[in-house]
């Protein structure tokens, strides 16, 4: 018993030290950033990331470093990674928009059907974890209102209990769907950023006809892959094959 306590204590101390370590690291990165030494700041953030840590804020800061170093492709890549983890963060959206306005390619985004647009704007209200927690909360509340319906003698309470139970159950299910949708973006993101100006071809081989050129920083959707080629789809609906090494999956 005593041993377990000691081990636990030790573990807590070690974790604390580690946490403090990260804190000082990010503080020094902030200092470098303030002094416009973006490369050093970036190196520290990359070090933190290589230790297995990640967060929207970390990726956001890395994106900022790349942006200031003039590497738009990497900046957009990290902003996109950040936005996946925290889809409602205004700072990330703002910086991503600025970085996107600086790249060479301008693609006209085909307006989506209204329900898809609504779906996307609702889904991106919260991150996957927040949706998951919301789903659990809605589920528990749903059970609570069912209990109200079952155990109350008062008609009004029973009625409200019954209807809110239905509503909360639907909310819980939707939150769960949204959470899964968001999680998919993290675990298996279909989107990628072009890292090198390259020609998009009509098929997955060098001999195929050239279709169009894409420049670094452009976000594309990967719809298929073959050997070392990706079939990519642009925001305006254009499709073609590109060498996989020229793009980086988010």
């Amino acid at each position: 018993m005593k041993n377990i306590t000691i081990t636990l204590l030790l573990l807590i101390i070690v974790l604390n030290i580690f946490a403090n370590d990260i804190k000082t690291e990010s503080d020094s990165a902030l200092n470098y950033y303030l002094n416009s030494d973006f490369e050093k700041a970036l190196a520290i953030y990359e070090d933190i990331n290589s230790k297995g840590y990640c967060s929207a804020d970390l990726f956001f800061n890395m994106g900022n470093c790349y942006y200031n170093l003039g590497d738009l492709a990497n900046a957009i890549y990290f902003y996109e990674k950040a936005i996946v983890l925290n889809p409602s963060d205004e700072d990330i959206l703002h910086n991503l928009q600025i970085a996107n306005s600086k790249i060479k390619n301008k693609t006209d985004i085909v307006p989506e059907v209204f329900y898809l647009r609504w779906y996307k704007s609702i889904v991106s209200l919260f991150s996957t974890d927040k949706w998951a927690i919301l789903s659990i909360i809605f589920f528990i509340l749903c059970l609570g209102t069912i209990s109200l319906y079952l155990f109350s003698k008062r008609i009004i309470l029973r009625k409200t209990g019954f209807y809110s139970a239905i509503l909360l159950f639907i909310l819980s299910i939707f939150s769960l769907i949204f959470s899964i949708g968001q999680a998919k973006l993290i675990t298996n993101n279909n989107f990628a950023i072009i890292f090198e100006t390259s020609l998009v071809k009509s098929g997955p081989s060098d001999e195929s006809t050239n279709l169009f050129e894409v420049n670094e920083g452009l976000k594309v959707e990967i719809t298929d892959s073959l050997n070392s080629w990706y079939n990519v789809k642009l925001a305006d609906g254009k499709q073609g094959w590109i060498i996989a090494e020229n793009v980086k999956k988010i």
């Binding site: 950033y33 297995g52 589920f139 675990t187």
Partner: protein, 616 residues
């Protein structure tokens, strides 16, 4: 007979003459001055054709040939001999000093080609007077004869020096600021009799913007004193020049080919007496280069418009008050004297609420010796898109005043435009004018936002909760608790469901049963039992239907509950009133009688009414 003989004789002589040896010679001066044109004559003693000159590339061809014929008949000892000579005269001009040769010319006589001798001419710097040079086009066969008898000095006209005839580029200043005008006049000064000007090579004015003010079609001489001497001066051309560069710039020299009429002295010369006392001499004169030093303007502020001179500025507008979306014309007029072609449009900051079109600029200038003067104007068409009173302030125009040598800023009046809103438009409030407020604009480009300096909310080896295997546990745990609760309390649930639901469902039925019994008592006229049944029907209905336990059943409670579920308050009070009435009749039987049927009807009505209202 005699005449026939004569004709024969003449014919014979001419045949003899032709048969004599053919001579084809070239004559030219041995020495000439650099600025003198000279004649070369080719003489042939037979009629020829196709005279082709030899190589004369060292000289400039001026004109020619002028031809003349002379015949000479001699009668010596009764023998008549006639010689004919044809002369072709060409005029050349030297180009450089030195010794040059004009190659032999060729001529075709009777189908045969003959070549003349070549002529060597020495060109020297100073003018040389020679016989050939003095002669006008005609060849003088007697010249040689007279030359032998007349001393040459008598014939030499007065030398033309550079003081007698010259050309100048006269400028009004040689030291000025870049952008200021220079007044330049090309004038010819002469003391000799200038009969004409052949060819003028004007300076190219590469370093200037040159505007020609005046160009003489003929030379008008006026008397003018220069360097203490009086000259006849004629203006050739007048320019206004704007230096393009700063530093030392030069006006290149102007070259003029002049024809000077010179009196020939020596009255003994027969031909001179015969033809007149004058002959024309070609002179080439060259003006000295003029050096102009052009200073850069003193350091200017950013507002400097590039204008140099003296100016006035004015802004006019087509209206002071306009309706929204109506076009207004603003006209900026600049008048004065100066370098109009280099003036940039003054910076006007239009309010963002205005739609401003590209200005139309127009010039109305004329060039005079004082420089370019006139007006330049810019016309702006503006469409205000928002109502309000817009103050544009003054428009400043900075120029370099060439008289005070200083920068000067002039400005227009304050410019104000009132824009009335559309009467039907309520978007901008009630007042006619709205004082426009400035919206905040980005100064430069938008930049990215600063990095997050919090603790970064880091998570290690992050995976979404939803992908965790224990995620379903969060659902299963509360569900299990719930199910257990349901199992444990299922009896109560059933009771609740039964009692509550049944009572609600059957409230109407039960009360109707009681009313039926009350009706029976009414027929029997059993007042006590009747009221008892009516009261219990009403109370029972209220209790069952509203879910109030019998113990809690009071009039206040009934009123409260009915109020809570938002039933018509008049119904609630009516119900309570009827209950009151019945209870009063029941417990005080001797009171004022009411018709039983009437009470019954009232009770039945209220129950039916409530049943209808509460169903929903």
């Amino acid at each position: 007979m005699k005449s026939i003989l004569l004709v024969f004789l003449i014919g014979f002589i001419s045949i003899w003459g032709f048969s004599q040896e053919l001579s084809f010679t070239a004559n030219g001066p041995a020495k000439v001055g650099l600025n003198q044109s000279f004649q070369v004559s080719y003489m042939v003693n037979a009629k020829g054709s196709n005279l082709t000159l030899g190589d004369y590339s060292d000289f400039k061809f001026v004109n020619g040939p002028s031809t003349s014929t002379s015949s000479n008949t001699q009668i010596i000892n009764g023998q008549v001999s006639t010689s004919v000579s044809y002369s072709y005269t060409y005029v050349f001009q030297p180009q450089n000093t030195g010794k040059f040769t004009i190659g032999g010319a060729t001529i075709t006589v009777n189908g045969k080609q003959y070549t003349s001798n070549s002529v060597t001419i020495e060109v020297q710097k100073d003018p040389v007077q020679t016989q050939n040079n003095r002669r006008n086009n005609t060849y003088d066969p007697f010249a040689d004869f007279y030359n032998q008898t007349q001393p040459q000095v008598n014939n030499t006209p007065k030398e033309i020096t550079n003081e007698d005839l010259f050309v100048r580029v006269v400028t009004d200043k040689t030291n000025l600021y870049k952008g200021e005008p220079i007044n330049a006049a090309i004038k010819i000064y002469t003391k000799v009799d200038l009969s004409g000007v052949n060819e003028i090579k004007f300076p190219s004015f590469d370093a200037f913007y040159a505007e020609e003010l005046e160009s003489a079609t003929r030379l008008n001489f006026t008397r003018e004193t220069y360097n203490g001497q009086t000259y006849n001066v004629a203006l050739i051309r007048r320019y206004i020049l704007y230096p393009r560069y700063s530093g030392n710039v030069t006006i290149e020299s102007c070259e003029v080919d002049c024809q000077v009429r010179q009196a020939v002295s020596g009255g003994n010369n027969f031909w001179a007496q015969f033809y007149g006392y004058y002959e024309t001499v070609q002179r080439k004169i060259k003006s000295p280069e003029v050096n102009i030093s052009v200073k850069n303007l003193p350091p200017a502020s950013d507002d400097f418009s590039g204008a140099i001179g003296t100016f006035n500025i004015k802004m006019t507008q087509s209206a002071d008050t306009v309706n929204i979306n109506d076009a207004v014309t603003f006209k900026l007029v600049l008048n004065g004297t100066g370098n109009f072609n280099m003036i940039e449009i003054p910076d006007i900051v239009w309010p963002k609420e205005f739609e401003v079109y590209e200005p139309v600029s127009s010039d109305n200038t004329n060039v005079s010796t004082a420089g370019v003067s006139g007006t330049k104007s810019w016309e702006f068409t503006v469409i205000p898109r928002y109502p309000g009173i817009f103050k544009l302030g003054k428009i400043n125009f900075q120029y370099f005043d060439s008289s005070t040598k200083q920068y000067k800023t002039i400005s227009t009046n304050d410019i104000t435009l009132a824009v009335r809103k559309d009467k039907n438009d309520t978007k901008f409030g009630d007042t006619d004018y709205v004082y426009s407020q400035k919206s905040i604009e980005y100064i430069g480009d938008e930049d990215i936002r600063f990095i997050k300096n919090n603790d970064l909310n880091l998570t290690k080896n992050y995976t979404p909760i939803i992908t965790d295997s224990f995620f379903s546990f969060y659902f299963i745990l509360p569900l299990t608790v719930f199910i257990l609760l349901v199992i444990f309390l299922r009896k109560k649930i059933k009771e609740n469901a039964d009692i509550a639901m049944m009572k609600v469902k059957h409230a109407g039925k039960v009360s109707r049963k009681r009313l039926k019994r009350a009706k029976k008592f009414m027929v029997q006229n059993n007042k006590t039992e009747f009221y008892k049944e009516i009261i219990s029907a009403l109370w029972g209905y209220a209790g069952d239907r509203l879910g109030i336990a019998v113990a809690d059943l009071t009039k206040d409670k009934v009123l409260n509950v009915m109020e809570a579920i938002k039933t018509d308050p008049t119904l609630a009070t009516k119900l309570v009133e009827i209950i009151d009435k019945c209870e009063y009749a029941h417990f005080a039987p001797n009171s004022k009688e009411t018709e039983l049927s009437y009470v019954y009807k009232e009770a039945a009505d209220i129950i039916e009414e409530l049943e209808q209202k509460l169903k929903v």
